[in-house]
């Protein structure tokens, strides 16, 4: 059974503007994109401005309104943080917009209110004023439920749709479309919320007199094919609340992810894939000069379930063999009782390679050597190493630990003297 969550953060853009300009807190504020209001502060909303208005109309409705421009680059880190919080629930996370994220929770039990409250607690108030979380059997209906709830929140007289359950909590609103009532919910939806389609297609649907999803299901598909050609099957599917688009595996910047499709692979083939995953992960980590202290294996099954196993270790790992054996252990721990379609190996909690140390010992036979060129040779070696590493990473002299049998002359630790 598929279960998709759509997370919408309210006042996301305004909150980001407040971070950069704390002096704008508490005054009517609107974020403008292409001469239209994208987001408004609660003070501006109280004054009558709302998203979708033109700049002129917003200023007319709320005379003291201040404007800031939409700056995509300024929201990137916050959007990544939002996706990172959602990644805690599932490896399949898709960023739909700056303040919108889809999470694929298929195959698992619906998350409890406690789990959702935890997610909302991470989001609010650092990323926005509140969150709207909708759960539905597909992306189309999940986002449609949020759109319907938001439009109802804007105008109090919006009709309640059958099949949509809503409930408010302290820092988030929950909208649920159950699988059994999804068709009923979809049939009453206005075509405007068929959001994966382009605006021109929606306009044409409305021009044909098709105002709701139910209107589309009521006409023969042949007519739709004549009007919309190859897009007709997609529209027919959407009108019945069907959207089988998969949510891709999320790749957080602080993790190294290997992902592969493997329809119908058995355990031997999966082990082979894990070898490739270990090679890729180890090479990437070595190139970045990092080690991982956490490995997570996600196995995606044909019936939409996801088996996730995680292993954490105190010592960072970046060797192929070590990562391979750990991931193989995770595979053995995973409960695989169906056809595997995809696997994903994530290396997380990345730390610098602190154990890349080089200790040079003097040959015991040359200890106390009176050889004339001994000191010159050593000094030359030190100069070569000093040129190779950045200043300060090579320590020499009395501060170094020495053993009885050998005298440590030099200790190279690129990360010890950061």
């Amino acid at each position: 059974m598929r279960l998709i969550a759509h997370v919408f953060v309210r006042n996301f853009l305004v909150t980001a503007a407040w971070t950069d300009h704390p002096d704008l807190v508490g005054i009517p504020l609107a974020v403008i994109r292409k001469n239209r209001v994208s987001d408004v502060s609660p003070e501006a909303a109280a004054g009558g401005a709302f998203p979708g208005m033109t700049k002129r109309h917003a200023l007319h409705a709320c005379p003291g309104l201040k404007f800031v421009d939409f700056m995509a680059h300024a929201y990137r880190s916050k959007t990544t943080a939002l996706a990172g919080h959602c990644y805690d629930l599932s490896p399949r996370v898709e960023v739909a917009a700056e303040n919108e994220v889809f999470i694929d929770l298929s195959g698992s039990k619906p998350p409890t209110v406690q789990v959702l409250r935890g997610l909302a607690g991470n989001i609010v108030p650092s990323l926005g004023s509140s969150a709207v979380i909708s759960l539905a059997p597909c992306r189309l209906l999940a986002k449609a439920a949020a759109c319907i709830w938001l439009s109802a929140a804007l105008c109090a007289h919006a009709p309640a749709l059958p099949g949509l359950i809503t409930r408010g909590y302290d820092n988030f609103h929950l909208c649920v479309v159950k699988n059994e009532t999804a068709g009923m919910f979809a049939s009453r939806l206005p075509v405007e919320v068929m959001w994966p389609l382009e605006g021109t297609v929606i306009k044409r649907l409305k021009a044909l007199g098709l105002k709701t999803f139910g209107d589309i299901t009521g006409i023969p598909p042949v007519m739709l094919r004549q009007q919309f050609g190859s897009q007709a099957p997609v529209i027919i599917g959407y009108s019945r609340g069907l959207d089988e688009t998969n949510i891709p595996v999320f790749r957080p910047p602080d993790k190294v992810i290997y992902h592969a499709c493997c329809e119908g692979a058995d355990r031997t083939q999966l082990a082979e894939l894990l070898k490739q995953a270990a090679v890729y992960t180890a090479k990437t980590l070595q190139a970045r000069g990092e080690s991982c202290r956490q490995l997570t294996l996600a196995v995606f099954l044909a019936d939409c379930r996801t088996e996730t196993k995680t292993s954490s270790f105190t010592r960072g790992k970046h060797e192929i063999r070590s990562i391979y054996y750990d991931s193989l252990n995770l595979l053995n721990r995973a409960r695989i009782d169906g056809e595997v379609t995809e696997i994903s190996l994530a290396a997380g909690e990345l730390v610098p390679n602190r154990h890349s140390q080089l200790a040079l010992f003097e040959d015991p036979r040359t200890l106390n050597s009176k050889a004339a060129d001994h000191r010159e040779k050593l000094a030359g070696l030190c100069r070569d190493l000093a040129a190779k590493y950045s200043p300060g990473v090579i320590a020499m002299g009395k501060a170094l630990p020495t053993s009885r049998r050998e005298q440590m002359l030099m200790f190279v630790d690129p990360f010890r003297y950061e």
Partner: protein, 82 residues
């Protein structure tokens, strides 16, 4: 000719509880039109539940028979016509 299936399927219904689409072989098959609807009481004297049968055509042109177990409210794909 037809193939007897009689397996439970996931069905998306409209507000009148008529099938809009059903999931078979991992894919959703949207319903083009419902050709016939009838009720089957079955062996009621043995306690068999009443079923509502739908003969329908998918948008891909396939002909199917689905039934709804009225007691458990579960859907089954009964038969696929060649």
């Amino acid at each position: 000719m037809s193939k007897f299936v009689d397996k439970r399927v996931e069905v998306r219904c409209d507000s009148r509880n008529a099938p809009l689409a059903f999931r078979w072989n991992g894919r959703w098959a949207p319903v083009n039109r419902i050709l016939e609807v009838w009720k089957d009481t079955g062996t009621w004297w043995d306690g068999e539940a009443e079923k509502t049968f739908y003969r329908l055509e998918s948008t891909a042109g396939g002909l199917y028979e689905l039934y709804l177990d009225n007691v458990n409210q579960t859907w089954f794909l009964y038969r696929i016509y060649d």
